[in-house]
Amino acid sequence: MQTNTKILAQEFEYLAPKTLDETLILLDNYKDKSARILAGGTDLLVKMKTIDLKTDYLINIKNIPELNFIDTADGLKIGAAVPLSHIERIGKVKERYAALYEGIKSMAVIAVRNMGTIAGNIGNASPAADTVPSLIAYGAEVKLVSKRGERTVLVEDFVTGVGKTVIEADELITQVNIPEMNKNSGSAFSKKGRVKADIAKINLAVCLEREGNICKDCKIVLGSVAVKAIRVKEAEGLLKGQTVSTSLIDKIAKRASEEIKPIDDIRSSVEYRTEIARVMVEDTVRIAWERAGGEL
């Protein structure tokens, strides 16, 4: 069906709360109706225009001061209303959280990053989301707040499938918390798209911690190869506690590519994704290892 993307045809009420409390009351009031949180709108408005995703209420959270902060004191805490482009400009992100930095930089184009948010990227729950692999690799969590109280959930557990998360109708992601990186740790992100600004055919983040020549701890996370971003735990197991060498990295990459169960879709075939995953894991583990100060 040809849709007219010049307009937004469907009708809804627009709500613009000014405080977090006000937002939580609205979410509670409308929890049994179809209400949606609007952040940057770069996923939501596209879907409302093109796949006819319906909503009766849009609650814009972009102007809530409590959600507009970045705290770099202990790890990173990023408010849900902060544009992606503001995150990429924080020195600590570039220096300490290279995989997150590279993931954000790879996303779309500057205008989309000026609008879009990290919470929206997680909340949209696309298997190709470019901030999610690094957030899982860092062990990041989202803070979910409702009138009933608050809880934190690991990003790894938050997304459960394509467009599916564990969020309740009255809950809001208020912030994303990323733990402080240990000394001697390093991370890297890579992505294959058709062109640079494209949605990923496959994306990947690695975060590891080094002790001498040994990899003390590591997480390897791949996106776009399953219904959600996944860790390749067998490959991680081969790396953990081992002396890192080029041949070990080759072995891990091979195992990772066997472990994933990629999908056939309009962007890529199973065969392509399996082979490219191997090459990408190999490169990305090596870069993360070198960033952690390791030698090969």
């Binding site: 937004l8 627009y14 184009v109």
Partner: protein, 156 residues
């Protein structure tokens, strides 16, 4: 649908409007404010023709609700020149023949001004990366990159 009262500044001028919740900024700018410099190309964020500056930063007006710009400052291509005096980026585009049909030009120039504010002396790669969301069907980009580079050099 309950209308939404908004107050915002467009090219420095305060505007008060009553908009529908599903009105897009692009259509308000073009149809209500008659500022037709901003173009509609794709409507889904892929082309950059609808780029405007929101509080100085490029955003896509085809994916922005008019209601959401309440209290903000919008700059369109019409707001760059000072009276009859063109903005240096506009002059650079003219001098370098970086305009053919002109459809991408408003978004391209606004994005380019934001680049130089952020990074006054960008390399060719940095320029190409920053404008990667502004699609041009005509020029092949070479003159556009040249224009942005020359504008940066002249400002130094």
């Amino acid at each position: 649908m309950k209308k939404v009262e908004i107050e915002f500044a467009v090219n420095g001028k305060k505007r008060s409007l009553s908009v529908k919740p599903n009105d897009l900024l692009i259509n308000i700018i073009r149809n209500d404010l008659f500022l037709t410099g901003s173009k509609y190309g794709c409507g889904i964020g892929e082309c950059g023709a609808c780029t405007v500056l929101l509080n100085g930063e490029p955003v896509l007006s085809c994916l922005t609700l008019a209601a959401a710009v309440d209290g903000k400052e919008i700059t369109t291509i019409e707001g760059l020149a000072k009276g009859n005096e063109l903005h240096p980026m506009q002059i650079a585009f003219l001098k370098n023949a970086a305009v053919q049909c002109g459809f991408c030009t408003p978004g391209m120039i606004l994005t380019a001004t934001a680049l130089l504010k952020e990074n006054p002396n960008p390399s060719e790669d940095e320029i190409r990366d920053y404008i990667r969301g502004n699609i041009c069907r005509c020029t092949g980009y070479i003159q556009i990159v040249k224009a942005i580079k020359s504008c940066a050099t002249e400002a130094q």
